[in-house]
Amino acid sequence: MKLTVISGAARARSKSNTALILENFCRGYEAEGNQTQTFYLSDRNQWEAARAAFDASDNLLIALPLYVENLPGLLLEFLGTLTPKRTPGAKLAFLVQGGFPEASQLRCCEEYLETLPARLGCIYGGTLIKGNMFFLRLLSDKQQEELRMFETMGKRFAQLGRFDKDEVTLFAAPEYMPETALKVFRGPGKFFQRLVMNAISRKMGGRGNLEARPYKDGE
């Protein structure tokens, strides 16, 4: 079985969390002798080939980072250039990952994605959601081991031919953070995150206050 994958992330492949997740997911999908081919929309030179692959494939996965509760503008632009399929039967699934840790934060986007395949002449193949991915690129190789969970989901997707909503809910848990975790976050976590964010900022060449207000009107 061959899966055509399109990444709707705006960041270049070398910097994108979506790309890192897809590497692992596709390894899992390929485990039993399946094939994948991935296109990255961050590179506009790949759009034409991605469109042609969309037209030719009946087994599709679109992966994306959550951007303000929904699809990134870049991906919407690409989708607008597609011609809906005329022959029925093609399946379109999604993989959405976001920065906030709770699965509940991805549900609004998921609701839209449930309606999207029909508009493109496809059958809905389910959506894999996962939060807490903001720091992925900043983790050590050892911590990135956690990404193996996407390899497992890739294997599972190959077996089922779609994402099962109940399985995804287990995978994406917690739906909401437990009150104990929120308490830590409101207390010591408040100071700890400042330390971490400032350190990352310095590493990226940042200067100045993370809470700076460059425009005076909002004060």
């Binding site: 992330a9 705006a10 960041r11 910097k15 994108s16 980072p65 951007y67 303000v68 509760e69 929904n70 699809l71 990134p72 503008g73 870049l74 919407l76 632009e77 989708l79 607008g80 906030f100 840790p101 709770e102 509940s104 934060q105 609004c108 609701e111 839209y112 309606t115 999207l116 508009r119 493109l120 909401y176 953070m177 929120l182 976050f185 409101r186 408040k190 995150q193 400042r194 964010m197 990352i200 900022s201 990226m204 060449g205 940042g206 200067r207 100045g208 206050n209 993370l210 809470e211 700076a212 207000r213 460059p214 425009y215 009107d217 909002g218 004060e219």
Partner: protein, 165 residues
């Protein structure tokens, strides 16, 4: 009410003219910004971590960022595609990131960004074309939860009169 309108519809589009005209008549003062050429957010995180509050893309969006802070309310006016806000408007909304800081807080049991400015934003959306109004409202509500502001609602163009501005 001092109203900001950010539109991604073509200036000469009759429906756009009608929507903008109706909104204009409701406000004491109104500024319209045409934003058809706003580029997509590149996800570089500079506005959070390198030059806090300032976007690295120079395409005129800074003018819109400043205007959000100057006006009492903002109404976005856009077309739709695939049953959702067209990509041009999503680019505009995605580029709001400089308004929030990288720091997180908890609000109503969910993680949220700490807002950069004290001003409470009031945003609404008017769209032409086909979309599910209930869903568009759900999305706009979520946008405003993230922006720590008040959602004025999402309205199809035929209901522009009902926008609470």
């Amino acid at each position: 009410m001092r109203l900001l309108i950010v539109s991604t519809l073509p200036e000469e589009d009759p429906e756009a003219r009608q929507v903008i005209g109706t909104l204009r008549a409701k406000a004491e003062e109104c500024r319209v910004i045409m934003a058809r050429e706003i580029r997509p957010c590149s996800g570089c995180n500079a506005c959070w971590l390198v030059t806090p509050g300032i976007c690295s893309i120079r395409d005129g969006y800074e003018e819109i960022l400043k205007a959000y802070l100057q006006y009492d309310a903002t109404v976005f006016v856009c077309g739709t595609a695939l049953g959702f806000a067209e990509y041009r408007m999503k680019n505009v909304i995605d580029r709001m990131l400089p308004l929030v800081t990288m720091l997180l807080t908890v609000k109503d049991g969910q993680m949220r960004h700490v807002m950069r400015y004290k001003k409470q934003l009031r945003w609404g959306l008017v769209y032409t074309g086909e979309a599910d109004e209930t869903y568009m409202n759900r999305w706009m509500e979520r946008v405003m939860v993230n922006a720590g502001g008040v959602c004025l609602g999402a309205f199809s163009a035929s209901r522009v009169q009902e926008v609470p501005v």
